[in-house]
Symmetry: C2
Subunit: 335 residues, 2 copies
């Protein structure tokens, strides 16, 4: 840096100012510095910057699993968005382990990262409620009453309502729900939306049609639920799954039992992952607005890192339903 300063005929401080994009450097000086940087092939040593400034330029994105297309998708967007803001993103798969999620919130990676985005899986609403959070953090996922940090939430309830209303409008009345849990969080919200829609239509809620699935991660959860539903003998003409992964498991079982989708049973998922376009049949699914979620989460975090104070902000992402063949949508042209 000293060499660059000499070449540009300025002090090191000015070089530093230019490279850090600090304001208050004359345009002409800036240009001269940049020329010298280029000429000498100089590059900032990030380790030294970090040591001196205390800022790492790194943010962590903690998510349950990367092999889930939904999270892969969000992760890719978060990485891109982070880069736009000048941050490197480190992905931290928590394996849905409580201890790892806690570590993120308690600043376990302090000194290593400037902040973190957490998509909790093990931590339920009750755990999160009013919890103490160390350092800049943005939460993804379920809505909380007393959020301990900024969050970007899906409108789980509203989105579910939309999905179920769509099935009702198609004349289905025996609609099963796959993915209920006792954990609170998204599952409860999605169940609430399901109940809202039925109630609004004057359709009674039949407990026999509520199928638990503690592990949303696996298609096998959906498959297992479908088997239980079929074996219970309860009549049904539609299945609303709390995510796409489980919906694929359900589709698989229905096909293996000789049931036609959507003729005999309509199926709707949640996430609108890319593969929903190519399942057999293509899956109707709620798009929870991943693009917006990633963008907003990084924005909120970066503003926190850069000094924003005040109460946690909550941003609700926009959602919409993508109707495909599994719920009677038009046969999509393949290709």
């Amino acid at each position: 840096m000293a060499d660059v300063a000499v070449a540009a005929g300025v002090s090191v401080k000015t070089v530093s100012n230019v490279l850090a994009e600090h304001p208050g450097v004359r345009e002409e000086t800036r240009a001269r510095v940049l020329t010298a940087v280029d000429a000498l092939g100089y590059r900032l040593n990030p380790a030294a910057s970090r040591l001196r400034s205390g800022r790492t330029g790194v943010i962590a994105f903690a998510l349950p699993h990367l092999y889930q297309p939904y999270f892969g998708d969000v992760a890719e967007r978060v990485i891109a968005e982070g880069e736009r803001h000048g941050y490197t993103v480190v992905i931290e798969p928590t394996d849905a382990l409580l201890a790892r999620e806690r570590a993120v919130l308690s600043g376990g990676r302090a000194q290593q990262v400037d902040g973190a985005i957490l998509s909790p899986a093990a931590l339920g609403v009750i755990d999160l409620q009013g919890l103490h959070v160390e350092g800049p953090v943005v939460l993804l996922g379920a809505r909380l009453d007393d959020p301990p940090a900024d969050q970007v939430v899906m409108d789980d309830r509203g989105a579910s309502r939309t999905a179920v209303a769509h099935l009702l409008a198609a004349g289905r009345t025996r609609i099963a729900a796959v993915g209920t849990t006792q954990d609170g969080g998204s599952a409860d919200e999605r169940e609430a939306g399901y109940r809202d829609a039925l109630t609004a239509a004057g359709v009674p809620v039949d407990p026999a049609l509520l199928l638990d699935a503690p592990d949303w991660d696996r298609r096998s959860s959906g498959a297992a639920a479908a088997v239980r539903l079929l074996d219970s003998g309860a009549p049904f003409d539609a299945v609303f799954c709390f995510n796409d992964a489980m919906a694929f498991g359900v589709l698989r079982v229905l096909a293996s039992r000789g049931l036609r989708v959507p003729e005999d049973v309509a199926v709707v998922g949640f996430d609108n992952t890319e593969q929903s376009r190519f399942s057999t049949p293509p899956l109707t699914s709620v798009d929870p607005g991943q693009e917006q979620i990633a963008r907003t989460a990084v924005d909120l975090l970066v503003r926190r890192i850069e000094g924003r104070t005040g109460a946690p902000e909550v941003v609700v992402a926009d959602h919409h339903l993508v109707v495909r063949e599994s719920s009677g949508g038009p046969r999509t042209p393949v290709v």
Copy 2:
């Protein structure tokens, strides 16, 4: 660190030695230092370590896309394996862009990372052959004659041979191949394995059954290929797809045209991603040994970083075929 040294009654150097796990510290001293560290809640400042030692403790894993379950899966394993070795892994989606892949090989991230693992998509075999590589790098993917760096390769050819031999053994003789390209690389190898198997069985190779698909990333590539195949009128009783993603697209089209799998057409994929277990029907697929690939790649890279010299090493991962219903395997018990 000075405080810890005082508390433990040793010099800072000793504290540093203990924390860096350098050899040559008496066990008793070590214990005393660790106690002091705990008591004071002391944590190494990684920025300072990096500045002084020049090592970052970070490795980059550059891959085309994270939303592809195959890469999400490998990425997760690489992250875990890196952690085991004390390294943080930074994922760098290249978007299959030539410039980004080149940047990895030419040490674009020097000073930021100690080394990189690259899974090339845009760079073909010819580009890679004998290319100059800057810094420790491990390549994933296709086998090269004159590798510029260590690599972990699949036995593309052998694995394809196994897959096609399986179809032949099941009595199929009109076997289409989906995913050929003119790029060289994995596509060529897989095509060669396909030809090997046919030739060995005395079955002629019909060019009408070779279906190009430049973009392996998308199920739509497989779907488009299947449409072309059907519209060509060429008879066929099996499809070997060069990856699972394309196979799902093919399954989708076959179903929409009323063809039964495996009765009318057997289908085999390549990657054995998790969703192959839950497609309709479950997909027979070649498992290319992702676990071993991730483990080996990190091992090779870390050993390079830690000073290994000499000619590039090449490790061929083990593969095996997982037979499921799409090629006439037994109906898998659902759940």
